[in-house]
Subunit: 151 residues, 2 copies
């Protein structure tokens, strides 16, 4: 879990789950959180599509949200905010249960993004992720490009 | 509108809006429909993100759904169903209002997909779309690869 209290975690978890209505409707949950680390879960329940598997858009959301969660874990969200520039998702296997993702920013990446935000007021970062099922089988792979911008 | 009655359109529109919960929660709507044609709208209301624009995942959903709508417009959905294989979305401009997309399959594409479904029981099709605002300004561009499969 790293460097935050259980109370802080619950606060951040709640913020992630209810940050806005679209996200809240999906039932997404934050499982682990620390500086440069976010693990999230998308429940199958409520996100089933026309053929009985998790809808593509719910998996997209599970891949997209960590870009913001990680941003909040490492940068000054009073001065800067994250926004997604592009995202590609490749579906590998039908999601017949809950789906999981672990996203990380390395110390080097955090240092570079911090420097860019401070010097230029903007920064770019890329997250390549694997979405897995509970057994660790890959359901989808994604590549997202995000920007940190000044308010 | 082409080749369907107003009653049929309302039935298909209702089916599109309420096909499963994730989609219903977004408030997506079908504006035009015909063989090889689908125009859809995603409302800003209910889909606003942490910085006051339409959430990336709502725009993704607006781009993804037409692949299924078009499939239903041209192929035998009692025998075959569509599924998305991959989708890339590039965000061009913040969506500060409702968003729109028009998706088409040409007669040639319909003929080829029909032949592949009948002969191989599966077919692949690609949709490259532009999502626009009410003024026609491009909010996002997308490329999606879909498969038609046998039940």
């Amino acid at each position: 879990m790293s460097d935050i209290t259980p109370e802080d975690f619950e606060k951040i978890r709640n913020g992630t789950r209810t940050s806005f209505r679209f996200v809240e409707n999906t039932g997404i949950d934050l499982l682990e959180y620390g500086r440069g680390l976010a693990r999230l879960m998308m429940p199958l329940e409520g996100n089933i599509n026309h053929v009985g598997m998790m809808y593509a858009g719910a998996l997209f959301t599970l891949a997209e949200i960590p870009g913001g969660t990680l941003f909040g874990s490492a940068f000054d969200t009073k001065r800067f905010y994250p926004i997604v520039g592009e995202l590609s998702i490749r579906y590998k296997k039908p999601a017949m249960g809950d789906a999981f993702v672990t996203a990380r920013l390395s110390d080097d990446e955090i240092e570079q993004i911090t420097a860019d935000l401070e010097e230029k007021g903007r920064a770019k970062y890329v997250l390549d992720l694997e979405i897995t099922d509970a057994d660790g089988d890959v359901l989808a792979t994604t590549s997202g490009t995000y920007f940190g911008l000044s308010f």
